[in-house]
């Protein structure tokens, strides 16, 4: 009796629920070819008054550029505050607020500033503002999240002419200008920063920058509106839409529904669970763009997984292609390296050719067993992999690694921690104690493999979480950093890459694509992964439909 009741009710509800989602689920897209990934979307045809966008990552904690070091803030601040250099949709890096740069021996850079640049209040940008802004990175009281080995390498920042700023480095760094395309090179108005005090960057005091959009109404917990800055210096790149309202919806089903119903015009990195629903949408289109993001499992350098042989064996045995196809709905590809495929803006053929010598992503259990024989640790100890509990797909990925581990005789224990505590795994060695590894969805700030590899495997790398250090690798990275010629630098970099991938400080899982959805009404933004540092909203306009 009770069973009948339940099954009747269940069938009814089931019908209702599936009916809502348009019947059977759509097939995930077939495996993506990284070569087919887009750089741009069709250019905007008309100017619009207002477009509603969504920032899937949530509300920016602050819009101070030196505090925007993660998706929620960066994806908004990229339209507000500009840097001396700028990343382009094709990942190349162009001078921006700096008009040109003179490079003396890779350790002294003289920047000639763009003339005619004004802040939103109409005041001109001066060399003093630039010096002030760069020095904020070095002032511990400013609490820059970008303070790192890169900024620590700055010896001095000086105004050396009415329109010139000179930066001297302690050790040569050929990648320094690329770093200035991130908020390390962001320019803010000195006077307003000093006046705002502790409220700087929050909804009360805001910021004063030079970007194509200024800050309009910021409704906390709901949305921020960007207003076009009509005095923008770069007239060729003036914003096409008068107002962009950016919502802060983070719930995947709400995002999917808002996009599908047209309540929101577009969004970057739409949730994986929304892919099947949105790929059938008649309201707009999904675009898959080139990305600099990848997903990896970071070894803490301790425990069973602290042994490179165990890491390599586990990667070899795990069907990462299946993970890309299922968990990532076919929007990702199995990762061959810790440098995302296509993550370079110079010497492309050198980086591409180097991939042929890296291990294939096809699972190979026999090879994995062979590699595991080199392990020197106690293999019976369970491997604890930590993930944030609010992201269930990580649990599914770890369970796939656990399946592979079981075949190798390794025990893998997933361990969820609350999202708010997960951040500490990246910044606090004490939090990492006791864990073998933790997951990450990581991205390169700029498409420079050398910067990325240096951060992961360099002795003082900002993302070196295991104290990873290998004299040969350290040496190659330093040599590359001091090399001006692109191809010569690329060759040194791929040598380092091969050595790093032989040790796998991180276990590469998948390379992502950028999942962009736009309604039929709007178009123009880059499809590639530049929305964190490129003013994407300025390109956004109408399709004319």
């Amino acid at each position: 009796m009770n069973k009948k009741l339940i099954s009747a009710g269940a069938a009814g509800l089931l019908l209702l629920l599936t009916g809502c989602n348009g019947g059977a689920a759509a097939k995930a897209p077939d495996a993506l070819n990284p070569k087919d990934l887009l750089v741009t979307t069709p250019a905007a045809m008309t100017n619009l008054d207002k477009i509603v966008w969504n920032n899937n990552f949530g509300e920016p904690p602050s819009i101070d550029p030196i505090k925007s070091a993660d998706y929620p803030a960066s994806a908004v601040v990229s339209n507000l505050c500009e840097s001396l250099f700028q990343i382009q949709p094709d990942f190349s890096i162009k001078p921006n607020l700096a008009k040109s740069v003179k490079n003396v021996d890779n350790s002294t850079y003289i920047y000639e500033l763009q003339s005619g640049v004004t802040f939103w209040d109409g005041k001109p940008m001066t060399a003093d503002d630039v010096v002030f802004s760069l020095k904020r990175q070095l002032d511990p009281k400013e609490i820059s999240y970008w303070a790192s080995d890169v900024t620590a390498n700055i010896a001095s920042v000086d105004k050396t002419g009415p329109n010139d700023v000179t930066v001297k480095l302690k050790t040569p760094d050929a990648t320094f200008n690329n770093q200035l395309a991130t908020p390390i090179g962001a320019v803010v108005e000195q006077a307003q920063r000093e006046k705002a005090g502790v409220d700087y960057g929050n909804p009360g005091a805001g910021v004063m920058c030079t970007g194509p959009y200024s800050v309009g109404e910021w409704k906390q917990g709901a949305s921020i509106t960007l207003n076009r800055y009509d005095g923008y210096w770069n007239t060729a790149k003036k914003a096409k839409t008068k107002q962009i309202e950016i919502q802060f919806i983070t719930d995947p089903s709400s995002i999917a529904n808002a996009l599908a119903t047209g309540a929101i015009d577009g969004s970057y990195d739409v949730p994986l669970s929304a892919i099947s629903q949105l790929s059938k949408s008649t309201n707009g289109q999904l675009f898959y763009g080139k990305s600099l993001q990848n997903m990896a499992i970071i070894s803490t350098g301790t425990g069973t997984l602290g042994d490179p042989a165990v890491r390599k064996a586990l990667t070899l045995a795990t069907d990462r292609e299946a993970i890309a196809k299922t968990v990532f709905e076919g929007t990702s590809t199995a990762a061959q390296s810790l440098v995302p495929n296509g993550g370079w803006n110079y010497s492309g053929t050198i980086f591409e050719d180097a991939r042929k010598n890296l291990p294939s992503t096809t699972p190979n259990l026999d090879e994995a067993k062979k590699v595991l024989k080199d392990a020197k640790v106690d293999l019976s100890k369970p491997i604890k992999i930590v993930y944030p509990i609010d992201r269930t797909f990580y649990a599914d990925i770890i369970s796939e690694f656990a399946n592979a581990g079981a075949k190798l005789g390794l025990t893998i224990e997933p361990s969820g921690v609350p999202g708010a505590q997960f951040g500490a795994f990246f910044s606090d060695p004490k939090a990492r104690a006791g864990a073998d590894a933790f997951v990450t969805t990581n991205y390169m700030n700029v498409a420079d493999p050398l910067i990325h590899l240096g951060a992961i495997a360099g002795p003082n790398g900002i993302q070196n979480y295991s104290g990873f250090s290998d004299p040969q690798i350290t040496d190659l990275l330093a040599k590359a950093k001091a090399t001006s010629d692109d191809d010569a630098r690329a060759k040194l970099t791929v040598q380092a890459e091969a050595l790093i991938m032989d040790k796998e400080p991180w276990l590469p899982v998948v390379d992502s694509s950028t999942r962009l959805f736009m309604s039929k009404r709007v178009t123009g933004v880059p499809a590639s992964f530049v929305y964190l540092y490129y003013p994407w909203a300025a390109d956004l306009g109408g399709t004319g439909k």
Partner: protein, 296 residues
């Protein structure tokens, strides 16, 4: 819990004589019969389910994710390729063990607080009343979040945090019943005879508030299932890959959006059916107990 177990025992063993069955049906009504059946099935699943499941409820491969229902997988598979039917069965245990911890902890601590307050009265009563007020001031979810932040997520942490949130309610009710007993002449008489308070409380007052504690626990049990499921749903309770109904609803959310509502739906229905059944039985039994007492 205890009350509903009595109900289960009344119907569970074998096939009772028709006359007895009819009398049970008369006492519970047909809804009560259905409810008893549901509770029996859930308790059975919690006790021996792990020996009956066709698959390991914690193991699956993403390659086999979102399979529809078939002879192999009765209710299909979840987003990690695990057998949903096996997970539902296995989930019955965690879904009952957690509430059991909550209910027992609440009943023990609640009655201790209440009886202490009642026996000593005066300042002690006022002080304990304030302590309860402090506990009252916390929403149960906030307490649970605080507990989980300090001790880490898990079934035991979540259950204890929830028990702390339940205690003031249960203590208040028990106190009011116990207070009535405390003021009855026979207790006063025993006190005058010089019998110590501990003995009187244990021998005379406790047995008389026993029904209240049991009824409260039965009702609490249902709430604890729902509240613990909510904590698991928020990621504060049981952790994957362990099977738990609340966790399954949460895990199935994304699948639901992708057109595979099975996991969330079945797990949700399991919670609804179990709690509704227990609440109904708890009320029937509690109501009759109360009626019986008032007749005396």
């Amino acid at each position: 819990m205890a009350a509903s177990e009595t109900a289960v025992l009344a119907t569970a063993p074998g096939t009772p004589a028709p006359g007895r069955l009819a009398s049970v049906r008369h006492r519970l009504g047909w809804i009560g019969m259905v409810c008893t059946g549901i509770v029996a099935v859930v308790v059975l699943a919690a006790l021996v389910g792990q020996f009956l499941v066709p698959y390991d409820p914690t193991v699956g491969s993403v390659v086999q994710r979102h399979l529809g229902s078939s002879a192999e997988h009765l209710l299909g598979t979840d987003q990690a390729g695990r057998d949903i039917f096996s997970r539902l069965i296995a989930g019955a245990r965690t879904s009952l063990v957690g509430p059991l911890i909550v209910v027992v902890a609440t009943a023990v601590a609640g009655s201790m607080l209440a009886l202490t307050a009642v026996w000593f009265g005066g300042r002690m009563d006022a002080f304990l009343g304030r302590v309860l007020d402090v506990l009252f001031a916390f929403p149960s979810l906030l307490l649970a979040i605080l507990g989980v932040a300090i001790f880490g997520p898990g079934l035991v942490t979540a259950s204890i945090a929830l028990a702390v949130a339940y205690i003031p309610y249960s203590a208040r009710v028990i106190r009011s019943v116990a207070l009535r007993e405390r003021n009855l002449p026979y207790v006063k008489a025993a006190e005058l005879q010089g019998i110590n308070g501990f003995t009187i409380t244990l021998r005379h007052i406790l047995p008389n508030v026993w029904t209240q504690i049991l009824t409260g626990s039965t009702i609490n049990f249902g709430y604890a299932i729902v509240d613990l499921a909510a904590l698991s749903f928020l990621g504060l309770g049981i952790q994957p890959p362990a099977a738990d109904w609340g966790l399954m609803i949460s895990n199935g959310q994304e699948s639901l959006q992708q057109g595979f509502p099975e996991q969330s739906l079945y797990a949700g229905l399991c919670i609804v059916a179990t709690v509704a059944a227990m609440a109904y039985l708890g009320e029937r039994l509690g109501g009759r107990a109360a009626a019986g007492r008032s007749k005396q």
